[in-house]
């Protein structure tokens, strides 16, 4: 309680400071001054709605404080929430932007093109200004994911360490007891992808499941993670260049082609709906398409029970597929960004700060079952007693961000497209690698690792 009061005190000071920086201080203007802002917030699915609601409640909180201060200034924010997929949502943003309808705050998959194309503004100023007040306990690895050319461009608002979910009940039906299961698939991920595939094949052959292993139907962090499992080097951290790692890529594609042949992976990745539905129904043994927080979505949309989550499902980071690789967990997210079209970036930044407060973070976490993105949120009464969140929260610390490079997602798109071609049997693994090689020639400074 005491802590909260000091917090409010801080904020009041802050706001008075802040208002003075905006030349509209209440003394000179009698009538109400209302700042109107817009925000476009994206999913995932209906489950991400708290990211939008948090902005709305941030505005309310600010207005309350302003009122208590007697200031005539008000903030009005209209938030639009979209359940579009990230790709189409980004398209829409670019179009809106060109049409002059860009929102002030937007929530996109982070892409350095946004910064290079002058679509968004850097936020270092605000982060530095309010570091002690608010941003001090964001997990530090998250900032890496939104840094580009020595600037921070977005505020993290969500995290989902991607990994492997599998069905323990299927393994039990195959005759393993819980101890054996934990030994084969330890929760730290120190096993191999082939072990997983072997079990999946057994389950498929026994007719227990329809699908052995399902991966994402589109590019994304989980896809990048599977590349890492095969030791594929996509990005050179030293030079900041993208890399095409032929031998590792070939291994990656060959493995998938073999899995399709064995019937473990379907030749055509099913849609998200099918992935989730069949996994919850127990018709899929293992999904590489999900992350720590996915059970939240399963519970809300697909009828997963707490008991089943407790007993029948198991999670681990992506296990290595080749020797010498550590289990990995990867994240990507859509941070809050402020567009260059924003007329009052200060107010937008303030809104974002309130919308990422420990309590707001806890609200989001509680609703989605995703781990909080800042440590102090774990203390919040909302999730303090939530066993699942408390249990999975540490996984965030080891998560690594996806590389920040303007062509990284183009690369992933191409690589994923080739994967689909390999699985469908339209091209061979060698052709897939050739395809990527020819893509590489169109990107400046691409590095190649030859066989």
């Amino acid at each position: 309680m005491c802590k909260k009061l000091t917090m409010i005190g801080f904020l009041v000071v802050l706001i008075s400071l802040f208002i003075s920086t905006v030349p509209v201080i209440g003394v000179t203007i009698e009538s109400e001054k209302v700042y109107e802002l817009t925000a476009n917030i994206i999913g995932p699915g209906p489950i991400g709605t708290k990211k939008a609601e948090n902005i709305e409640s941030a505005a309310e909180e600010i207005n309350k404080m302003l009122e208590s201060m007697g200031s005539p200034v008000r903030v009005k924010v209209s938030v639009k929430f979209s359940t579009l997929k990230w790709g189409p949502f980004a398209d829409k943003f670019y179009m809106d932007f060109r049409a002059g309808k860009a929102p002030d705050i937007v929530n996109l998959r982070w892409d350095p093109k946004l910064a290079d194309g002058k679509f968004i503004i850097p936020l270092d100023k605000y982060i530095a200004m309010w570091w002690d007040l608010d941003f001090y306990d964001f997990y530090s690895n998250l900032w890496k994911g939104v840094t580009w050319k020595n600037n921070i461009w977005g505020i993290p608002n969500d995290i989902c360490p991607a990994g492997v979910w599998y069905r323990k009940d299927v393994l039990r039906k195959l005759g393993y007891n819980d101890e054996e299961i934990l030994k084969m698939l330890p929760s730290d991920g120190k096993t191999t992808l082939n072990k997983l595939a072997e079990l999946a094949k057994k389950a498929v052959d026994a007719g227990l499941v329809e699908y052995g292993i399902l991966h994402r139907p589109s590019k994304g962090a989980g896809f990048y993670a599977t590349l890492l499992e095969f030791g594929v080097k996509c990005y050179d951290t030293l030079t900041g260049n993208l890399v095409i790692d032929e031998p590792a890529l070939l291994k990656f594609y060959k493995w998938h082609a073999d899995m399709v042949k064995e019937g473990v992976i379907p030749p055509e990745p099913p849609s998200w709906k099918t992935i989730h539905a069949t996994f919850v129904e127990g018709k899929t043994f293992c999904t590489l398409a999900s992350h720590v927080g996915t059970p939240g979505e399963w519970k809300k949309k697909y009828g997963l029970t707490d008991k089943a989550l407790e007993n029948d499902l198991g999670f681990l980071p992506f296990p290595p597929a080749v020797r010498g690789i550590e289990p990995t967990s990867v994240h990507e997210f859509a941070p809050y960004l402020i567009t260059t079209k924003c007329k009052h970036p200060d107010i937008a930044a303030l809104l974002i700060m309130f919308a990422t407060s420990p309590h707001a973070c806890a609200i989001h976490s509680a609703y989605t079952l995703r781990p909080p993105y800042r440590g102090s949120a774990l203390e919040d009464p909302l999730i303090k007693d939530n066993e699942y969140i408390q249990k999975t929260a540490p996984s965030v610390r080891t998560v690594q961000p996806v590389p920040v490079h303007p062509n990284f997602w183009d690369y992933m798109t191409r690589a994923f497209n080739a994967l689909k071609g390999v699985e469908a049997g339209i091209i061979t693994p060698t052709q897939a690698v050739d395809d990527l090689k020819s893509f590489g020639t169109t990107i400046p400074h691409m590095e190649f690792i030859k066989k």
Binding site: K80, T83, L84, P88, K92, A99, K101, W272
Partner: protein, 277 residues
């Protein structure tokens, strides 16, 4: 006996071609009006629950869009297109049917050539054109672009309507002292009323059905029924049942128009149906 057998082979071969389509149509219909289907076509529970979007907001996240706003957008878009097609084509059709001027043959054959170029391959350029003229992402601008796709053939259609009017009517009107514009306005327009109706409906329907122009030039910013449906399909947030019901709702106005105005439409040259989109 041999003849009877021959008849049956005809029926059977026709049915064989038709069955996959019938299955698709029936599955679609059943999906729209039931909770779900088994065996491809057999509905589980008949009802209108999928149509709840008619009185509730569309289940599209927090973007609580009412179907009726989108419906009105679509009506507006299609109507503008219909009007533009009607006005431009009745004007030009008259000149091409009744006036003699240099380059007429060239103009007419040009229209046929332009119609053959579907406009889809010019979409990139049209995108930039609209962007620089500040018409991009605005219903009137895009409707104008969409209407211009139908104008080449529309001019031919309109010419056909004017051609059916006997020359003596025009000769009489000119003797009575009409100017050309008066002839057009006071004599011809009333005579070819059904043709004008057909032109309007024609422009309206193609705009109503259009996807790629709306998707590329209006997308997101201003949803129409076609792009909204495609968006729902792409995002997978709603069931197939709701999508089928929405599709049904989307298809209904043109179907009703078509059934009621079939006679008028059929007066239009049959080429009115445009190739693939």
């Amino acid at each position: 006996m041999k003849k009877v057998l021959g008849k049956w082979t005809i029926y059977i071969s026709l049915s064989l071609i038709a069955i996959p389509f019938l299955v698709m149509y029936i599955a679609f219909f059943m999906q729209a009006f039931s909770k779900g289907i088994t065996l491809g076509v057999i509905p589980q529970k008949f009802g209108f629950s999928n149509f709840s979007f008619l009185w509730n907001p569309i289940p599209w996240g927090l973007e609580r869009t009412s179907i009726w706003g989108i419906f009105l957008n679509t009506v507006l878009f299609a109507s503008i297109s219909g009007f533009v097609v009607t006005i431009v084509c009745t004007l030009a059709g008259y000149a091409l049917s009744r006036l003699e001027f240099r380059g007429k043959v060239f103009f007419l054959s040009l229209q046929l050539m332009l119609h053959a170029i579907t406009g889809q391959i010019l979409l990139i350029a049209i995108f930039f054109l609209l962007f620089y003229t500040k018409l991009l992402y605005k219903i009137p601008g895009v409707a104008l672009a969409r209407a211009s796709l139908e104008i080449p053939l529309g001019i031919w259609m309109a010419k056909g309507f004017f051609d059916t009017v006997p020359w003596d009517v025009e000769r009489a009107a000119i003797m009575d002292g009409c100017t050309r514009f008066q002839v057009w306005y006071m004599i011809f327009l009333p005579i070819i009323k059904p043709g004008i109706g057909a032109l309007f409906i024609w422009g309206f329907l193609f705009a109503w059905h259009d996807f790629i122009y709306v998707y590329t030039l209006l997308s997101g910013t201003v949803p129409l029924l076609s792009t909204m449906l495609q968006g729902l399909l792409a995002t997978e947030v709603v069931d197939y049942g709701v999508i089928a019901a929405l599709s049904f709702f989307y298809m209904l106005p043109p179907l009703i128009l078509f059934v009621f105005l079939q006679k008028v439409l059929m007066k239009a040259p049959i080429m009115g149906g445009k190739g693939i989109a």
